[in-house]
């Protein structure tokens, strides 16, 4: 189960709230202006709001099911791409064809989530979009191979989900990829 812990905002974050409004006169006796940069009591946002997000890990209940899913998933390929490109090479097309065969047979009861990833060159929105276009190219190839579009979902992780963190050509090539994840 994944959870998000939202913690309180401490005094410092309120400091500037205090500053931007009119300066409070703290001590009339003071020779100079005394600026209370932060009010003493820490306004702690008390609740630690925990939000449970439905995630693929939390849904799997049957161990047999999980075993099947993991076994099949391990047979699914990773699709690699050239630098700054999202078109599919013939070598990768063969892998997608094989994946589609699995999708029509042993994995026919599952949905698939395609996860697009990029190398570290570019860490902005454009990189996320590039990851997504890669994912979309794989999705279109799977549909062309006869997989129902409703079984496929997509997400892009940009450069935030690397499998390799060295700063080498080989490493970057490994990160420009689309992974297959099965969903029940």
């Amino acid at each position: 189960m994944k959870s998000i812990v939202l913690s309180g905002v401490v005094t410092a974050l309120l400091v500037f709230g205090g500053c931007s409004s009119k300066e409070p006169a703290v001590d009339d006796q003071a020779v100079n202006n005394v600026e209370e940069v932060a009010s003493a009591p820490t306004q702690e946002v008390e609740s630690v709001a925990t939000e449970t997000v439905a995630s693929e890990e939390s849904v799997v209940s049957s161990s047999t099911n999980e075993y099947d899913m993991n076994t099949i998933e391990s047979k699914l390929p990773t699709i690699y791409f050239a630098f700054d490109k999202y078109d599919i090479s013939s070598e990768m097309q063969e892998k997608i064809d094989a994946a589609a065969e699995l999708g029509k047979k042993v994995a026919s009861n599952y949905k698939v989530k395609l996860e697009g990833n990029c190398d570290e060159w570019g860490s902005d929105e454009y990189n996320f979009a590039l990851g997504l276009k890669r994912t979309d190219a794989v999705k279109k190839a799977l549909i062309a191979d006869g997989i129902d579009a409703s079984r496929i979902s997509m997400v892009s992780y940009g450069e935030s989900n690397p499998v390799c963190t060295d700063h080498t050509k080989e490493c970057w090539a490994k990160n420009r990829r689309v992974d297959f994840k099965l969903l029940p």
């Binding site: 998000i4 500037f16 902005d124």
Partner: protein, 416 residues
Amino acid sequence: MKVLFLLFFYLNIVYAGDATIEVIKKADSLPTLAVEDASINYNDTFKLRFFKSLVADLNVISLFNVDRHHRVVPYNDTDVLVENKDMQYVIRYKLFEDDNGAMNLNMKLLERGSEVFGKNYRVSNKDIYMFVSHAIAYDINEYMGADSVEWMKRKVIFARVVGPKKSDIIISDYTLSYQHTIIKGGFNLFPKWANRSQNAFYYTSLDSNVPTLKYVDIKTASVKSIISSDGMMICSDVSNDGNTLLLTMAKEGQPDIYTYNVKTHKYKRETTYKGIDVNAQFMSKDSIAFISSRLGYPNVFTKKLSTNEIEQIVYYGNSNSACSAHGHYIVYKARESSNAFSENTFNLHLVSTETDLIRRLTATGINEFPRFSKDGDAIIFVKNYKGQSSIGIIRLKYNKNYLFPLKSGRVQSMDW
């Protein structure tokens, strides 16, 4: 010998590389300013840390040639130190702890030896000393009658990747020296302030199967889901009134720019190009700048929302993949080298949509995540150079860049 060694060690601390400044253009005509420390209570390490923070902030206001020698003096001495007698300005301050354990600071500004301005500050906890240092610089700037540095008081929000599919969202001061993790755990990216008062923000949650835009009210700590899109969901910008969001969504696998009305919850597709359109930024209520691959590589374009008129803005570089806008000014990130696999240089450039102005703002390393301050006076960015990440502040009017080295982690995205 011992004394010499100690002196050497001390000077090393004083001149250690952190929180220092990169000055691109030296303005020798600026008045000189020295800072004298009259602190009591706190240990030397803390005193020095505070001194450095203050010197850095005073440099950023770009009004003085700030002397970096840390010199100690009693607060009530009538004369400035002999070493500082030729300085046009001297700031003398005294840090002390009161009975409640709060950190207090008395400060006076001396011009040619006479006190011309003074102010006292207090914070409940000495760990947030940097806010006092920012406040002093802000006040000195106001006293000198220079253009406002209101942005010094604004908060930065950023996402830091801590592992594959794991990230934190952090709120900090503009130098990122104070950091408070507001969302810990999970995979949450692209935080954006929801309004000018910075009491709420949006971010992208990638924890569920569908990327979802969420809204957090900081005061109540409540989180609500706003809108989801298969594939991709990013809030790229928020209008000045907070009512309209510029989103990048990917309905049917196609990354495009959408406007989203916060009140009616209705969205409208603004771009339809079959490649990539992302990173939209408001230039005015009716026009946006954005990044598109419509020329076969990422470049900067503008669009009028009412007329659908699209214009290419940048005619330089072969990969301009991020931008930020303020009025008719756009700052963008350009890849300078054509080799995708060697040492790459990414520089920031400033262009105007109304004149033929183009100005390179950085010179070395990988410079990214540019964001204009709300008043357009400064640009914040992240610089990676020789294995060191720093937060950078560009003062456009003064043609100066300032760097604050980052302690750890890789910034994924940030807003100011």
